[in-house]
């Protein structure tokens, strides 16, 4: 039997009640739907907002960019922006993204490379990363080609003790201040500080002094520099001859493992000196069986470094040890050590290592013509013409 539900009053009542319930439910679901939509839309909007938030530069990023800008402020004095292209890579340059706007602003050409190609490849290292107890402090080192710039920074809050003439960039009431001099390596070029004009006077902070520049040595290279060997047949035969008369090694620089004994050979870098004239010759005398330079020796090296011209000069060092020695390293070791000691001092004074050529003279007797028995000859050469 089929019941016509629409005609049965009980059924109709029940249906009406059900419809009412359904209507009520649908209204609720409708409301829930609208709330859901709004929530989802707000969720979408939130994610969009987050993207926009990322677009805005974070204060920490701004402060780091300020540090990099300060480091690079002297760069135009070292490398002419109009004629210089700097190479960068996403993988090998370090976290250098903040350096790019400043390089563009300074007018440098930029070359993006896939490894570390280029004579002006940029490395940016955060020397405090990892074990930094104070996140407000940072020490950055920027290397471009054979130059290095490094400086320590600390972040300060805006306060009254800061001189009004200080050119700090305030970011939400905070700014970075150099915690020491700008260290320049790989050049002796006279530079004028053009970045932040103050620095912390002491590690304790609170007091400030005018910003300064200090010349330093290049950071050590992990794994060292591959040895460059001299392999001229003529030289090889001469070294062989010399070896029969006494110990001798032939090489370009002492840090590469050895160098020629010019007591028995000609200078290993004679070919390099063809186009150069000697400007000055200085002698540093060492104590017997010693590689200690001492104050007078350091003064002589300073004197040579002060006359060094970045673009045209090279320095030749001849370390000598002639005569009897009681040291186990012998005359050869002593001569090499003395030459290397002078080279270190010159590099510490900011002269690029590739502008310093060292060699030695050693013999068991004290008859080396033109060379001291226990000293080093420093020659400053300038390109002719």
């Amino acid at each position: 039997m089929r019941i016509d539900s629409t005609r049965n009053p009980r059924t109709l009542k029940t249906m009406a009640a059900r419809m009412g319930l359904l209507f009520d439910m649908s209204r609720r679901i409708g409301r829930l739907g609208i709330i859901g939509i709004l929530t989802l839309l707000s969720g979408c909007a939130t994610s969009g907002g987050a993207l926009n938030g990322n677009d805005a530069v974070e204060p920490g990023t701004q402060l780091r960019a300020d540090m990099i800008a300060d480091l690079m402020s002297v760069l135009p004095q070292m490398l002419d922006p109009l004629n210089t292209t700097i190479q960068l890579s996403d993988s090998a340059s370090g976290n250098a993204a903040e350096a790019v706007p400043k390089l563009v602003e300074l007018g440098y050409g930029l070359q993006y490379v896939d490894a570390d190609q280029g004579s002006n490849f940029l490395y940016l290292s955060d020397l405090t990363a990892g074990d930094n107890p104070n996140p407000a402090d940072a020490q950055l080192r920027l290397s471009i080609g054979s130059f290095e710039l490094s400086r320590s920074y600390t972040t300060i809050q805006k306060n009254v003790s800061i001189d009004e003439s200080a050119n700090l960039a305030w970011r939400n009431g905070r700014a970075i201040v150099p915690a020491g001099p700008l260290k320049v390596a790989g050049t002796r070029q006279s530079l004028e500080l053009t970045g932040i004009n103050i620095e912390l006077a002491s590690a304790e902070g609170g007091e400030y002094s005018p910003g300064s520049i200090e010349y330093a040595s290049l950071a050590p290279i992990e794994g060292g520099i591959p040895t460059i060997s001299l392999i001229t047949e003529d030289l090889v035969s001469r070294v062989t001859d010399a070896a029969s008369a006494g110990p001798s090694l032939a090489n370009l620089k002492s840090y590469d493992g050895g160098f020629s004994n010019i007591y028995t050979d000609n200078s290993a870098f004679a070919s390099i000196l063809d186009d150069y004239n000697r400007i000055i010759r200085e002698f540093v005398i060492f104590p017997n069986d010693s590689q200690n330079l001492g104050k007078p020796g350091k003064l002589v090296v300073k004197k040579v470094a002060a006359r060094f011209s970045e673009n045209s000069d090279i320095i030749g060092i001849t370390g000598c040890s002639n005569g009897p020695t009681s040291l186990a390293i012998g005359n050869e070791g002593l001569a090499l050590g003395r030459a290397n000691r002078i080279a270190e001092e010159l590099v510490s004074a900011g002269i690029s290592r590739d502008r310093v050529f060292d060699e030695g003279c050693w013999s068991p007797t004290t008859d080396a013509p033109g060379f001291p028995n226990r000293g080093v000859v420093i020659d400053l050469y300038r390109r002719a013409g």
Binding site: G109, A115, S119, S146, T232
Partner: protein, 351 residues
């Protein structure tokens, strides 16, 4: 009934925003079409994605030819550019960056290597023609292209003016076939407008349905341009080898790369190259041996050799003075061996 309708609407309304959020996740990445510095974000954002992909192919095609012109001295040349104001300008500058040119932003048209470019549309007796061009100094590269529903395809030879060195330019036109087609053909090759230009090889390329490649698997712009750049170094050594028997060896060094896949030289190796380059005299030749595999074939090692050559070139040494040596059969290296690898450099001097 009304209740059911409301219910359906509510569900639909719930689903729509969800799908919208889903769509947002697969957003296009405008950055790949823009130069790394100084791109015009607004213009790129306003340009349809398909159009950007087409412009990227055109830019890759033109710039890959440009880098193979010896006068361009890719690796050491710095090009001056103005900020781009068109989508084509953006994709073109990105291609120049990826090719390895140094890019210097200028406010007007300063510089010997100022880059100009253009897209021209013309109604000709052969129908509508769109050509794209790029010029650097006296050198210009241009080509006509057709756009259809599949993508963009060349419709002329790639014309180079301002140089006679066009014979060795190799075009990687497979970047166009990857779009797929229905048996259509296009002309491939390099030519010149000049009447005394050398003769070059010309071929036709057929684009089939099965050539279509998913976008993610297509050749990257960076890969195509790097290959073009490497080709010019490798070709120079292969075509004009020095007879080093007449030279004297002066210096030698061995550079160590971290592993067989690495082309990062590191500071130590770079410093060694700098020292050698400092003592370069006119007439000297640097000979680079990167491959010592016993089977005498190793493409990866040649890339390391090219990497070292690039380093010398960056110090101002002409690529012609740096010779990449073929493999010397000296050692056996298992394919799984990923220990550090050596590249030997010998400086030769004319007696």
């Amino acid at each position: 009934m009304r209740a059911t309708v409301r219910l359906r609407y509510a569900l639909l309304l719930l689903i729509f925003p969800l799908s919208a959020c889903q769509t947002q996740r697969v957003q296009r990445d405008n950055e790949v079409f823009m130069p790394r510095v100084g791109g015009n974000e607004k213009i790129v954002a306003q340009t349809p994605l398909n159009e950007l992909r087409r412009l990227q192919l055109v830019s890759t095609n033109l710039v890959s030819a440009l880098v193979q012109i010896p006068e361009m001295e890719v690796g050491t040349a710095t090009l001056q550019v103005s900020s781009p104001t068109t989508a084509y300008g953006n994709t073109l500058l990105r291609a120049l960056e990826d090719a390895g040119f140094g890019i210097q932003r200028v406010s007007a048209d300063q510089g010997l290597n100022y880059v100009t470019y253009g897209k021209r549309f013309a109604e000709t007796e052969a129908g509508p023609v769109t050509d794209y061009s790029i010029s650097v100094g006296d050198i210009e590269v241009k080509r006509e292209y057709d756009v259809n529903k599949r993508g963009v395809f060349p419709s002329s030879l790639l014309l180079v003016s301002g140089t006679r060195n066009i014979v060795d330019i190799e075009l990687d036109d497979s970047i166009f076939t990857e779009q797929g087609g229905s048996g259509d053909t296009f002309i491939s090759g390099v030519g010149s407008d000049s009447i005394d230009a050398p003769t070059t090889d010309v071929s036709t390329v057929t684009v089939n349905e099965y050539d279509a490649t998913p976008i993610a698997q297509r050749k990257s712009q960076l890969g195509v341009l790097s290959n073009a750049r490497h080709r010019i170094y490798a070709k120079e050594s292969a075509d004009n080898p020095f007879n080093l028997d007449r030279y004297l060896q002066v210096r030698r060094t061995v550079l160590i790369f971290k592993d067989k896949k690495s082309i990062v030289m590191g500071r130590g190796n770079k410093q060694a190259v700098r020292l050698l380059a400092n003592d370069f005299a006119a007439g000297d030749v640097f000979s680079i041996t990167a491959c010592t595999d016993v089977d005498g074939k190793n493409d990866a090692s040649q890339i390391r050799g090219i990497r070292v050559e690039e380093e010398f070139v960056s110090h101002g040494i002409n690529a012609r003075s740096v010779q990449l040596e073929p493999c010397v059969r000296a050692s056996y290296r298992h394919s799984t061996d990923n220990s550090p690898v050596a590249v030997s450099v010998v400086q030769y001097r004319a007696p």
